[in-house]
Amino acid sequence: MNNFAIKVEHLGKRYRVGGQERYKSLRDVLTNRVKAPFRSLRPSRKNGNGSSAAAGTDFQDQYPRRRNGNGFVWALDDVSFQIEPGEVVGIIGRNGAGKSTLLRVLARITRPTRGKAQIRGRVGALLEVGTGFHPELTGRDNIYLSGAVLGMRSTEIKSKFDEIVAFAEIERFIDTPVKRYSSGMQVRLAFAVAAHLEPEILLIDEVLAVGDAEFQKKCLGKIGDVAKQGRTILFVSHHMPSVVRLSPRTLLLDRGRITDSGKTAEVVGTYLNSGFGLQAEQCWPDPSSAPGNDLVRLNVVRVQNTSGESQQFFDSRESIGIEIGYTVMHPVTKLAAEFVVYDSQGVLLFTSANQYDDGLLELHRPGEYLSTCWIPGNLMTEGTFFVRVSVVEIQMPVKVHVFEENVLAFQISDPMQKDSARGRIAHDYPGLIRPRLEWKTRFSEREVFSI
């Protein structure tokens, strides 16, 4: 077992409570010293069912983690694992479970407090899109700069330059300062550079969450290619479909510890069944932080039952309502709110859009919209499902205003009663969907001889 790419032994990383608390000035240090004894008296917020908007980065806004009583928190706690060369391993877990901290330690951005890790091979870390970009510089300059920052040799960048430009689809703007690029172009260029990194080990943190769907697919494909070339990839994602598609093995982190590891399908199953990561409702009371842009912003998304209450667990016979609330700032035509539903294996089951509502497609006037779509009961199978919500202009050129992956999740179970699709069938009842279909059986009585 000496042939490892990454070997982590009892790794621990401790932060002061309050997370990456910044000491802005000496005076703060002094006042903090004085206040410190009282800090532990502050009630810790017991958060549980995360129902509010996307979590921030402050540790205190996450859930309480292991503390040692002195105002410290272990973001990573006794983590051990080994990864063979050429393996692709996913890391999943709730916000604040320590996934990003683990990558930061392995990427050598921060040092651990305890334990050790050994890494064999050059490491490329992709912890954000556009690392090293400078807005004043041209696309050409930024390719070199970002490439160098991410660890490419300049000869390597030179030889891949044309490929990168083509991948980003920005040939015409290569000598324009990046600050004049649309945000989509910036993301594409940043990705293109990153996607052409060729270290032996690639650490990726949730970077697939940006960019338009088409380009995301392209990047996933590129990363898949990289994986096939025998590179070791460790990646953090909340996007179960890509975890399932890319990595055969997955680690589940919870409160800084590895609580499960093994075959991705099983680990993802454990994670989902534990109820982590499931959100039946998300709302963004503050428009400035809501998903969207200056044309459309998301207000609320919800999974609801027929009484209009947010609900996470459904009986397979129940209808499931997907509600999307959004604000439109300027009049716009051909706009539609859409959602897609994935199963926990990452299979996209179906898409639906509010395009048939009266006159909505012709013109969205400024104001708030609340659309609800009903998925009939006795249609879907058991399991956990994820919803991606988008708001797009549906005709060419397609413009994506909102694109939120995994924004909602819900679970369905078949009660195994006589009016469900499965009814009383006790054996395995497979299928991507589980519609309760009409059956007609004719019977005619006749004498049957037993053989």
Binding site: S25, P112, R120
Partner: protein, 285 residues
């Protein structure tokens, strides 16, 4: 974080990195710095390119600032106060002092802020952090080179001939850069933690200017105190620079020796301090 540690058995010809908690005295990491020389180049290149990207006058700024300071100093100290310039025309005298001073002050300010201004990079990607202050100093050397052309023109204009001592000039330029880097290493690491540095640094640099023989000659300082004056390393740098280029007074002996030892001490101390603090930059910045 010791690349290629020997204690690891390596069956593959790949670099192996050990990631462990910071402990004891760090190594200086010079070998690693050498491996990252290309990045150093790119950082420098970026700093220079960005600095002049949106300015109407571009690189002319590198000349304008010392040139106008020279005019002001010449007027007030040269013409009105009749400050002694060791027999050299005052404008040349003061400009030859301003050049290494500008190199020093610009390097110092930029390198001290280099970690804070590159906060995002530090949080997202690994590289020897010392690349940042170093590239800030190298970028300042480029400005220095541009401003230096004016000095050559001025010397020609006033008919000041360089002596054989000019061979020592590169050493003094290097010494100025090293002084700035030595102090910059301390301040940038300190700045990452305590933002006070950012606000004090300009004040600090101004104060330092008057403690340095730029507008006046160190011959104003009584001989027996002159070696002590060398505790300000910039005193040795400026006097040495001027001497190697313009001649005039005799070679700055004991004072220079004190300055050089001062720089060596500050530099090694700064590098260790920086390396020691490096482990927590990403956590505190």
């Amino acid at each position: 974080m010791k690349p290629g540690s020997d204690e690891l058995e390596s069956s593959l010809p790949l670099p192996t990195f050990l990631i462990d908690p910071p402990s004891g005295w760090p190594t200086l990491g010079l070998k690693e710095l050498w491996e990252y020389r290309e990045l150093l180049y790119f950082f420098t290149w970026r700093d220079i390119k960005v600095r002049y990207k949106q300015t109407a006058l571009g690189a002319a700024w590198a000349i304008i600032q010392p040139f106008f300071m020279m005019l002001v100093f010449s007027l007030f100290f040269g013409r009105l106060a009749h400050v002694s310039s060791d027999g050299i025309p005052y404008p040349v005298f003061v400009y030859a002092g301003l050049l290494p001073w500008q190199l020093f002050s610009q390097s110092l300010v930029e390198s001290s802020n280099s970690l804070v201004t590159n906060e995002r990079l530090i949080n997202k990607v690994y590289f020897p952090r010392v690349c940042l202050p170093i590239s800030a100093v190298i970028a300042a050397l480029v400005d220095f080179t541009i401003a230096f052309t004016i000095l050559i023109l001025m010397m020609a204009f006033y008919g000041v001939r360089p002596t054989a001592a000019i061979v020592a000039l590169p050493a003094f330029i290097l010494l100025a850069a090293c002084t700035a880097l030595a102090v910059g290493l301390w301040l940038s690491a300190f700045n990452a933690r305590y933002r006070d540095v950012r606000y004090t640094i300009n004040f600090f640099v101004q104060f330092w200017l008057f403690a340095t023989p730029v507008a006046y000659s160190s011959s104003l300082v009584p001989l027996r105190w002159r070696a002590l004056y060398g505790l300000n390393p910039m005193a040795g740098v400026v006097e040495g620079f001027r001497w190697s280029l313009l001649g005039g007074s005799e070679a700055p002996g004991p004072m220079l020796a004190v300055s050089v030892s001062m720089v060596v001490l500050l530099f090694i101390g700064g590098l260790y301090y920086f390396r020691r603090m490096e482990a927590e930059f990403a956590d505190v910045i």
